[in-house]
């Protein structure tokens, strides 16, 4: 088990797909709309070593109530831009496409958080700020302090994608049942 802290550096390059890690420090939530704005207006926080969380939380009176991951694949098209600007970790569920796997080579990692675990995520989070609140609760960029968020390395910086490996093996197992 590896404990990671933001800002992230070259230590993420040593991780391997399937490694169990925890992440502490600052994460920035971003979904479809925030990605569009970042491409158009620039990244409104220091992207160097930052972690972006694919999540649209429920926020109530300054507190995170529920903050499970959303499907990362929707952000495929906008993510290369973030990696080019120095973002080191993407957090979400379901993995990303082959283009992102190649983009992360020697640069960063994709970390999977368990789908549906909105209460667990919220229990490890403290809200510290918000950017572009006019995008609405689900789409704004929430700045969140996380304390040992339990994650799995889904795509590493060596070109390994655990989702793709598992899916290929599942295909072979299905064909063996024919």
């Amino acid at each position: 088990m590896t404990d990671l802290w933001t800002p992230l550096g070259d230590e993420v390059l040593d991780l391997r797909a399937g490694d169990l890690v925890t992440l502490s420090g600052t994460v920035y939530t971003a979904r479809d709309e925030a990605h569009l704005w970042m491409v158009r207006k620039g990244i409104p926080f220091n992207p160097e070593g930052a972690a972006v969380y694919h999540c649209g939380p429920i926020v109530h009176r300054g507190h995170i109530i529920a903050a499970g991951p959303t499907t990362s694949a929707r952000m495929n098209a906008f993510t290369p831009f973030l990696i080019d600007r120095g973002i080191r970790a993407l957090i979400g569920k379901g993995g990303m496409d082959d283009n992102i796997r190649l983009k992360l080579l020697n640069r960063g990692v994709y970390l999977a958080f368990t789908g549906g675990c909105a209460a667990l995520a919220a229990s490890k989070m403290t809200l510290t700020g918000v950017i572009w609140e006019d995008l609405g609760m689900a789409e704004a960029i929430w700045v969140i302090d996380v304390d040992h968020l339990p994650l799995v390395v889904g795509i590493d910086a060596h070109g390994n994608d655990l989702f793709a490996i598992v899916q290929q093996a599942a295909r072979r197992a299905y064909e063996a049942q024919e």
Binding site: L20, G68, T114, G115, G116, C117, A118, L162, R171, Y174
Partner: protein, 279 residues
């Protein structure tokens, strides 16, 4: 026959709807929680064990804090059991709709219901033919809710299969899980409808998700074992548990047809039933 427009009665129906939704969204049924704990204890893959540990911890936290298990609080699917003394009326449907609207702000639920073409959100989780209500006759008046999230619903499938193909059903069910991969938030539960008609088989598949997963017959167990051989695992990250259970419901069908529907349910298999007194 009591007066179906009695305001006290309609209020009780709305309140029962709210209670059922609150129970379903916050407390995962014991059979599902136990199946997830068993899967976690048996799991040999460390990544899958981590995922299942997170899930079990999340279930306990939601219960303790009184908050929804998942931020996708689903769309409201309702099953009414009506005794002979309670007629199915527009007023009854309205009372259930009122319950859903109130529950959306008081639990709270994420407003998920939109117009299918304009995509405009009603903000209340209600709309045209939503909540979706199924009705069956019975001895006692009760409402069961099955809030259904989108991730698993979106990978559900219907097939009109070849009646002479002896493994058509098994292959279709296993293939559905293969195509879905990690998208429906596995470990999943499958509701499988076999027979009936094109429309009827989908309703059977969803109704199968109301059954307790404590027990599977040999046909269901065999399907479940075949799915778990795929090793897709929790969240598609690999592991021994891809499906917690398969539940099947059948109806007779045309001699030239074999309708099969697979309604995929994420691990957060939320359902709750509340009885309603009839004045």
């Amino acid at each position: 026959m009591h007066d179906p427009r009695n305001p006290q009665f309609l209020l009780a129906v709305a309140q029962a709807t709210i209670r059922a939704l609150r129970e379903a969204e916050i407390n995962l049924p014991n059979d599902v929680t136990e199946a997830l704990e068993t899967a976690r204890n048996r799991e040999t893959n460390p990544v899958a064990r981590r995922e299942l540990t997170n899930i079990c911890e999340n279930i306990a936290l939601a219960r303790k804090m009184g908050i929804p298990i998942c931020q996708d609080t689903g769309v409201p699917v309702c099953y009414l059991t009506l005794p002979p003394t309670v007629p199915y009326t527009d007023a009854l449907i309205q009372a259930i709709t009122d319950g859903v609207r109130i529950a959306t702000t008081t639990i709270p639920l994420r407003p998920n219901v939109v117009d299918p073409c304009s995509r405009k959100n009603s903000g209340t989780n209600t709309g045209h033919l939503m909540p979706y209500i199924h009705v069956k006759p019975g001895d006692h008046f009760s409402i069961t809710v099955l809030p259904k999230g989108a991730g698993a619903e979106n990978v559900s499938r219907i097939g009109m299969l070849l009646p002479s193909d002896r493994d058509a059903i098994g292959r279709f069910v296993v293939e559905t899980v293969l195509i879905a991969g990690g998208r429906p938030c596995p470990p999943v539960i499958l509701g499988v409808g076999i027979g009936s008609t094109f429309d009827g088989v989908a309703a059977l598949a969803k109704e199968a998700l109301l059954d307790s997963i404590d027990h599977m017959d040999s046909f269901e167990q065999n399907l479940c074992d075949r799915i778990n051989l795929l090793k897709i695992g929790p969240m598609g990250l690999g592991g021994d548990t891809t499906a917690l259970a398969v539940k099947v419901k059948k109806a007779d069908c045309h001699t030239a047809s074999l309708p099969v529907a697979v309604n995929v349910q994420c691990w957060a298999s939320r359902r709750a039933t509340v009885g309603i007194g009839v004045p």
